[in-house]
C-alpha cells in the first residue's frame, strides 16, 4: 500500500499554444506510508507542479495520481492531506489559535473539539503561549510552525510542503528541520517536501528524488541511509556528506548534460 502513487503523470501548460510548457513528462513515484521524501532540482524542473498534482490543485494531462488509495481529487475532498507553503500564509485577521482551527471549521467541527485540537497542535509545535497572539506579532520561524500546526490540525496522513523554510535564515532553518522531524515522528505523517537545498533534503529525507527540467522528469532517486535517529550531530557524519555528494552528482550530471547539449532555452 502506498501513501502516494504516481503513474506516468505528465503535465503540459498551454497545450497547443505558442507558449506551451512541458512541465512534467512521464513521472512515476511511490511513497510509502510514514516515509519522508524530498523533491529537489533546479528551477523549472517541475517539482512544485508535481506537488500540486498530488494536492489536486492541478490535473495531470496524462497519467494517474493516487493518494491514500483514492484518486487525488477524492483525497482533496476528503481532506487527506495538509499543505504548507513558503509564505506561511496565515490570515492576519485571525488569532494564531483561530488560524489553526481554519481547516477544522471548514470540516464542520464544533467549537469545543476545535479548541481542544488547536491546543494540542500548539503544544506539538511548542508555542502554547502564543495562541491568542496575531500572526504579525510572531517571527517568520514561529509563523511557519503555526502553518505546520494548521496543516496537521486535522491529523491528515499526508503532509505536502513547498519550500516552507525558504524564507528563513540558516540558523532558524536548521532548527525548523529538527522540529519538523520531531513532529512527524510523533504523528507518523508521510511527507513530500520540495526544496532547493541539498543539505536540507538529505537531513530530512529517507529518499531524495532528483528532478531535471524541460521536460520535468525524475533522473535519480537517492536512498539516504542515515538511520532513523537524526540530531545535530547527524550533519557531521560521513554518511551525511556521502548522501549530499550523491545528490549533488545527480544534479550536476544532468546539469552537465544540459550544458553539453548547448541548450540555451533556460
Amino acid at each position: 500500500m502506498s501513501a502516494v502513487s504516481i503513474r506516468n503523470a505528465s503535465k503540459v501548460f498551454n497545450l497547443g499554444k505558442s507558449n506551451q510548457v512541458d512541465a512534467l513528462r512521464n513521472v512515476s513515484l511511490d511513497v510509502k506510508p510514514g516515509e519522508f521524501v524530498s523533491l529537489i532540482g533546479p528551477s523549472g524542473c517541475g517539482k512544485s507542479t508535481l506537488l500540486r498534482l498530488i494536492a489536486n490543485l492541478l490535473e495531470p494531462t496524462n497519467g494517474d495520481v493516487v493518494v491514500n488509495d483514492k484518486p487525488a481529487a477524492q483525497a482533496r475532498l476528503d481532506q487527506d492531506y495538509g499543505m504548507a507553503f513558503q509564505q506561511a500564509g496565515l490570515f492576519e485577521w485571525r488569532t494564531v489559535r483561530k488560524n489553526i482551527e481554519l481547516p477544522l471549521e471548514l470540516k464542520g467541527w464544533d467549537k469545543n473539539a476545535r479548541a481542544l485540537r488547536a491546543n494540542e497542535m500548539l503544544q506539538l509545535v511548542q508555542l502554547p503561549e502564543f495562541g491568542d497572539h496575531y500572526p504579525w506579532q510572531l517571527s517568520g520561524g514561529m509563523q511557519q510552525r503555526i502553518a505546520i500546526a494548521r496543516a496537521l490540525a486535522a491529523h491528515p496522513p499526508l503532509l505536502l510542503m513547498d519550500e516552507p523554510f525558504g524564507a528563513l535564515d540558516e540558523m532558524t532553518r536548521e532548527y525548523m528541520q529538527g522540529e519538523l522531524l520531531r513532529i512527524c515522528a510523533a504523528t507518523g505523517t508521510t511527507v513530500v517536501f520540495v526544496t532547493h537545498s541539498i543539505p536540507e533534503a538529505v537531513y530530512l529525507s529517507n529518499r531524495v528524488v532528483v528532478m531535471s527540467p524541460r521536460p520535468g522528469r525524475i533522473t535519480k532517486v537517492v536512498d539516504v541511509s542515515l538511520g532513523g535517529e537524526r540530531n545535530e550531530d547527524t550533519r557531521n557524519r560521513t554518511a551525511f556528506f556521502e548522501a549530499i555528494t550523491a545528490v549533488r552528482e545527480g544534479l550536476r550530471g544532468m546539469h552537465a548534460a544540459h550544458v553539453g547539449l548547448g541548450n540555451d532555452d533556460r
Binding site: 482533496r76 499543505m83 509564505q87 500564509g89 485577521w93 485571525r94 481554519l102 481547516p103 504579525w136
Partner: protein, 280 residues
C-alpha cells in the same frame, strides 16, 4: 494642529476684512476681490454669537437649535442613503467577483461614472417626490434625497470592495482550494476579511458622497427640514442678517464631519487587530 489651522484661517479672514476694499475691487483689471463690508463679510465672532440669538425676530427658537435640527435631519437622510448605497455597492461587488462576465460588463461604467457629474440627476430624482406612486406607497420627497446620496455613494463603494475582494493572495486561494472549500466559504473566510482594508477608504468616500448627494438634493429643490434649505434661506436674508448664513454653513460642515467621524470610528474598530500598515 488642526485648531492652529483653523486659527490661521480666521486670521486671514479678519486681516483681509480689515485691509480689503469695502465695495470689492479689481485685480489686474478683473473684478475679483470680494467685498468686505459688514453685510458681505461679517466678523468671525459675529458668526458665533449669532448662534445664540433667535432664529427669526420674535421667535423662540435660537439659530443654534434651528441649525442643529436641520443638520440632524440631513444626517439621517445621509445615513439612510449611505446604508442603501453600501448594501447595493457591496452586493454588486460580490456579484462582479463571482461572475467575471458581469465584472467586465459593468465595472467600466462604474469607474467612468465617478468622473461624470451624476448629481446632474438631482433635480430629476427629487421631482419624483409626491408624484410617483407604487400601489399605496407614495414616494416621499425626502426619499429622493437619500436615494441620490445612495446613488453617489454606491460607485466608490462597489469599486473599492471589488478591488478588495480580488486582493486575496494566490497562495491563500490555493490554501482554500486545498481545503476543498466552496466559493461562498472562501468568500466569507478569506476574501471579505482581505477586502476590509480596501473597503475602509471606499466607505469613507461613500460617506462623503452621500452627504453631498443629500445636501445637493435639498438645495436644488429646497427640501424642507434639511440643512441645505436653511443655507439657501439664510443666504437670502443676508442683506439684513449677514452672520446667519455662516451658522448654517458651520452646520453643514458639522454634518459632514460627523458622518466621517462615524465611519472612521467603525474603521478603527474593524481594523483594531490588524498590523499597522496602510493600503493605498
Amino acid at each position: 494642529m488642526f485648531v492652529a489651522a483653523l486659527a490661521l484661517v480666521v486670521v486671514i479672514w479678519e486681516t483681509y476684512k480689515a485691509l480689503g476694499p469695502a465695495d470689492g475691487g479689481t485685480l489686474l483689471g478683473v473684478r475679483i476681490l470680494p467685498r468686505t463690508s459688514e453685510y458681505a463679510m461679517p466678523h468671525v465672532w459675529d458668526m458665533f454669537s449669532r448662534f445664540n440669538r433667535p432664529e427669526v425676530r420674535g421667535s423662540d427658537r435660537s439659530v443654534f437649535d434651528a441649525v442643529l435640527a436641520g443638520a440632524w435631519y440631513s444626517f439621517r437622510l445621509s445615513a439612510a442613503g449611505f446604508v442603501m448605497g453600501g448594501v447595493v455597492g457591496v452586493g454588486l461587488a460580490v456579484l462582479m467577483a463571482r461572475f467575471k462576465l458581469v465584472q467586465r460588463g459593468v465595472l467600466p461604467y462604474l469607474v467612468v461614472s465617478q468622473t461624470v457629474p451624476l448629481i446632474a440627476l438631482a433635480p430629476l430624482v427629487v421631482s419624483w417626490g409626491g408624484k410617483l406612486e407604487v400601489g399605496p406607497f407614495v414616494w416621499p420627497r425626502w426619499l429622493s434625497a437619500s436615494v441620490l446620496g445612495a446613488f453617489l455613494a454606491f460607485f466608490p463603494i462597489a469599486v473599492g470592495t471589488l478591488r478588495g475582494l480580488a486582493a486575496a493572495s494566490a497562495a491563500s486561494v490555493e490554501l482554500m482550494q486545498s481545503y476543498a472549500a466552496s466559493w461562498t466559504k472562501t468568500l466569507f473566510k478569506l476574501r471579505f476579511p482581505t477586502a476590509v482594508p480596501y473597503m475602509v477608504p471606499a466607505f469613507r468616500l461613500g460617506a462623503s458622497a452621500s452627504v453631498i448627494g443629500v445636501v445637493v438634493a435639498e438645495i436644488s429643490t429646497g427640501l424642507r427640514g434639511g440643512i441645505g434649505r436653511l443655507i439657501i434661506e439664510y443666504a437670502r436674508e443676508a442683506t439684513g442678517d449677514p452672520a446667519k448664513v455662516y451658522t448654517a454653513i458651520f452646520g453643514a460642515a458639522a454634518l459632514g464631519l460627523t458622518m466621517a467621524g462615524v465611519v472612521i470610528a467603525v474603521d478603527v474598530f474593524v481594523m483594531r487587530n490588524r498590523p499597522k500598515e496602510s493600503v493605498s
